[in-house]
């Protein structure tokens, strides 16, 4: 009697509680531990890496990886600057442009809606390929070694535009727009004063997507950036990792030209680079998080 009274209607049994909590703790650890390991390895001395492999409790700690990484701090700071700049500018522009595309095609009363929706959808299925992209950017637009070549290719992500359109369609009732129009608001005012404030969750979600996209992008730099002082930080790092990978796969070539093996970073240095590369994104996440859940549920039917 007493037992049931102490338990409220909606609570779960202690056993289920433990099981659920345990399950999520394991899940969370599976996400967090690899990151922790990367950080620890970056502080591990190379000797103990070679003799014992990766370990959470290394025998010998060292700061050598970071020392040699920041010995050349000018390069890294500049690359950071490029990445931060591209990410900030890219995110703002990208969210704005995508919203401006998504909003009209969310409106039932827009006559060209089918055409522009298809226009967008088509690019999801077919792309011009890298050769044509390369020709357009380098020979058509002349953007070789230009920061715009890092910005432009990622401004509109068709899939994200469609998510946004769906969000506008489901959350913003046509009656709302109609009433605003009756009150004398023009299209632009409706968009800025009514639609945008109501769509904050999806905006924040898209901003997060864009931030990650721009921050992690190295492929456009691979194609379009030649001068090393214009490299974004991710490309700087992926290039070093690729170089190592390349030499491992071409043992023969490396053996014939030992000069290539010189200055190769060891594993703790590679991990230190990964830590340096992921830093800012870890900071950005919490800011967007409160919108994130809501933003992702868009598209689901709501009661």
């Amino acid at each position: 009697m007493l037992k049931t009274a102490s338990r409220r209607e909606n609570t779960i049994s202690p056993l289920t509680n433990y099981v659920l909590n345990g399950g999520f703790i394991v899940l969370a650890l599976a996400c967090v531990l690899p990151v922790v390991l990367v950080i620890i390895v970056s502080f591990t001395h190379n000797d103990s890496l070679l003799s014992r492999g990766y370990s959470f409790f290394p025998v010998k700690w060292s700061l050598i990886a970071y020392e040699s990484l920041f010995k050349d701090y000018g390069t890294i700071l500049r690359a950071y600057g490029v990445s931060v700049g591209i990410t900030a500018a890219g995110t703002v522009l990208s969210v704005l442009l995508m919203a401006l595309y998504a909003y009209p095609i969310s409106r039932q009363d827009y006559p060209l809606r089918p055409f522009f929706t298809f226009f967008l959808f088509f690019t999801m299925l077919f792309s011009g390929g890298i050769v044509s992209k390369y020709i357009v950017f380098t020979q058509g637009l002349g953007l070789l070694d230009n920061y715009l070549s890092l910005l432009l290719p990622l401004l509109i992500v068709p899939f994200n535009v469609i998510i946004m359109r769906t969000f506008f369609q489901t959350t913003i009732h046509p009656a709302l727009i109609e009433s605003a129009r009756i009150d004398g608001a023009g299209e632009l005012r409706i968009f800025v004063r009514i639609v945008l404030p109501l769509s904050l969750p999806v905006m924040a979600t898209m901003a997060l997507f864009s931030t990650i996209l721009f921050w992690n992008d190295w492929f456009n730099a691979l194609l379009f950036i030649r001068a090393e002082d214009k490299y974004p930080v991710q490309f700087l790092m992926i290039r070093v990792l690729n170089d190592i990978q390349y030499l491992r796969e071409n043992v023969q070539l490396a053996a014939q030209n030992p000069e290539m093996m010189r200055d190769l970073p060891n594993e703790s240095l590679q991990m230190a680079m990964a830590v340096v590369g992921m830093g800012p994104i870890l900071i950005v996440y919490p800011f967007f998080q409160k919108y994130f859940v809501k933003g992702l549920t868009i598209g689901a039917v709501k009661g």
Partner: protein
């Protein structure tokens, strides 16, 4: 995080290749006669200048007669902070000599192949382009990416011709025409067993009498017993070092690989000493199967006795890292004069090394074409590009500026021909084997004084492979080779010793290779070799 972006580009990449081959097909019509028709067209602009230049040797052409031109040099090397300074210095020199400037375009190793092919496919303007047999040189030639060089070399490359071993110029040819100028360095490499000197001294190992892996066995046992920290024989199967495959044929007879090698595993072999018939054997040939079985059996027994590292099948740690830790006492390596010192320098100079060469150095097409410069079809002035290349091959000042940087800023001169690099100076691209004439490079600490004379001797004495100059065109058997690559990749780890019953797996692999069409490829290879011999009367 990167996985996401990477994945997205895979279909895109596939599209590129499809698209690229279409582009090439379109360009193909004019591609064949390119060699004959395009040089006059492309040199039309400076023709008035080059007419006078061609009368006199290029060195004496007055700079004022040549229109200013920027020669872009695309090469295999890590971009350096001081590239611009070096470029400015190079420009001073070339401006005065041939009224040209250069644009250095270093591309890091991992990007090099993809990026240059993209540049070729999109017709971007380039002049001198680093290329090599392992960068699909012959494929790019047949796509028409490069200008034919015989005439240019005769006109403006006299210095190159004088210095380069004539064997070199036999390799980068397609249908008899020259398409690239090899970098002057050691022309080939032998294979050797390289030992740590202190261990050899300690155990009195008679390295000169150890010619096969089997000879090594008693010493592996001794080292295992006496040196607990050392791995008796290290195999990194996770990164393409498959142990047994490396010296299998070289230590067991006169067969040498020829033709396609899917996943870097030789499939076809030729007895290089019986030059009279040139009969290709595949890995299905009983004799070759026998060699393979002996080798995998030997490695399996090494592994079972604990001589090979336990993670041989998957390990990716580079030998260099382990050498620095003192865990390696012997390894199968490539050899050329000075190799021991290079190995010492590449591993923080912790140990001395000695080698015993187990294979006579042979010059094959692939090795002689291992590092070269070609002139791109998109060059607007191939004459000038060749002049620049000629200087890189003949002028010690220019070539050392290119590979070592600026004196007193990037290196200090400590002898007539000897330098000491300045640490962290902002220019140390490691391109001595890439550009021009390595025999003109200043010597670095540790390199012996007679390094270059011994290289020249080595080059002159190197034996030529009977099929030197032959290139296999795999266009007709592409599907078969793709299938063979899949099979070989699947069974690659049998050579590491880490898998059970390797002999049985080898039979299994060979059966699969047979159904993948290895015999068709063999027939095609034989056909092409016969045709090549008839053409070259050998």
């Amino acid at each position: 995080m990167d996985i996401k972006t990477k994945k997205r580009h895979i279909p895109a990449l596939a599209l590129v290749f499809a698209f690229a081959s279409m582009l090439q097909a379109c360009a193909g019509g004019s591609g064949d006669d390119k060699g004959a028709s395009s040089p006059p067209a492309s040199s039309a602009a400076p023709s008035s200048a080059s007419a006078s230049a061609s009368a006199a040797p290029s060195e004496s052409a007055a700079p004022s007669e040549l229109a200013p031109y920027e020669v872009s040099i695309v090469y295999f090397g890590k971009p350096q902070p001081d590239d611009a300074l070096v470029e400015a210095k190079l420009n001073e020199f070339f401006k005065e000599k041939i009224n040209a400037t250069v644009k250095l375009q270093p591309i890091a190793s991992s990007d090099y192949k993809n990026r240059t092919e993209l540049m070729m496919n999109t017709g971007e303007k380039m002049d001198l382009v680093f290329t090599a047999s392992w960068l699909n040189f012959f494929g790019n030639v047949s796509k028409g990416a490069f200008v034919e060089l015989d005439d240019l070399l005769a006109k403006y490359g006299q210095g190159i011709k004088d210095r380069l071993n004539p064997l070199y110029l036999e390799a980068p040819r397609m249908k008899g025409k020259l398409y690239a100028i090899p970098t002057n360095k050691e022309i080939t490499q032998g294979k050797a067993l390289t030992y740590r000197k202190d261990i050899v001294d300690k155990y009195q190992i008679p390295i000169d009498s150890i010619n096969t892996m089997a000879d090594l066995e008693p010493w592996m046992a001794k080292v295992k017993a006496g040196e607990p920290g050392i791995i008796p024989y290290y195999v990194a199967g996770g990164s393409g070092n498959f142990g047994g495959g490396f010296m299998m044929y070289e230590t067991r007879g006169n067969y040498r690989p020829i033709g396609p090698a899917p996943a870097k595993t030789p499939m076809f072999l030729l007895d290089y000493k019986s030059s009279d018939e040139m009969k290709v054997k595949s890995v299905l040939d009983p004799e070759i199967v026998d060699i393979n079985k002996q080798e995998v059996g030997l490695f399996r027994s090494f592994y079972e006795k604990g001589y090979i590292n336990a993670d041989a099948a998957t390990s990716t740690t580079t030998v260099n890292d382990l050498q620095k830790e003192g865990k390696i006492w012997v390894q199968a390596a490539t050899w050329k004069p000075g190799a021991d010192i290079e190995m010492k320098l590449a591993t923080d100079s912790k140990y001395d090394y000695v080698s015993h060469v187990v294979e006579e150095p042979i010059v094959t097409t692939d090795l002689a074409a291992g590092s070269m410069f070609a002139i791109s079809r998109t060059s607007k002035d191939p004459d000038r590009a060749m002049m620049v290349l000629n200087y890189l091959h003949t002028d010690p000042y220019v070539i050392n500026l290119f590979v070592n940087g600026i004196e007193d800023k990037h290196y200090k001169k400590v002898g007539e021909n000897r330098i000491e690099p300045v640490a962290d100076s902002g220019y140390n691209p490691g391109t001595s084997w890439v550009v021009g004439n390595q025999l003109l490079n200043y010597l670095k600490p540790g390199q012996p004084d007679d390094l270059y004379t011994s290289w020249e001797k080595f080059n002159n004495e190197a034996k030529r492979f009977p099929l030197m100059g032959f290139v296999f065109d795999e266009a007709n058997v592409k599907n078969e080779i793709t299938q063979m690559t899949a099979v070989v990749t699947e069974y690659q780890s049998i050579f590491t010793g880490a898998v059970k019953n390797p002999e049985k797996l080898l039979d299994e692999r060979n059966a699969k290779l047979k159904s993948a069409g290895i015999e068709k490829v063999q027939a095609e290879l034989q056909k092409q070799i016969d045709a090549w011999r008839a053409e070259n009367k050998k």
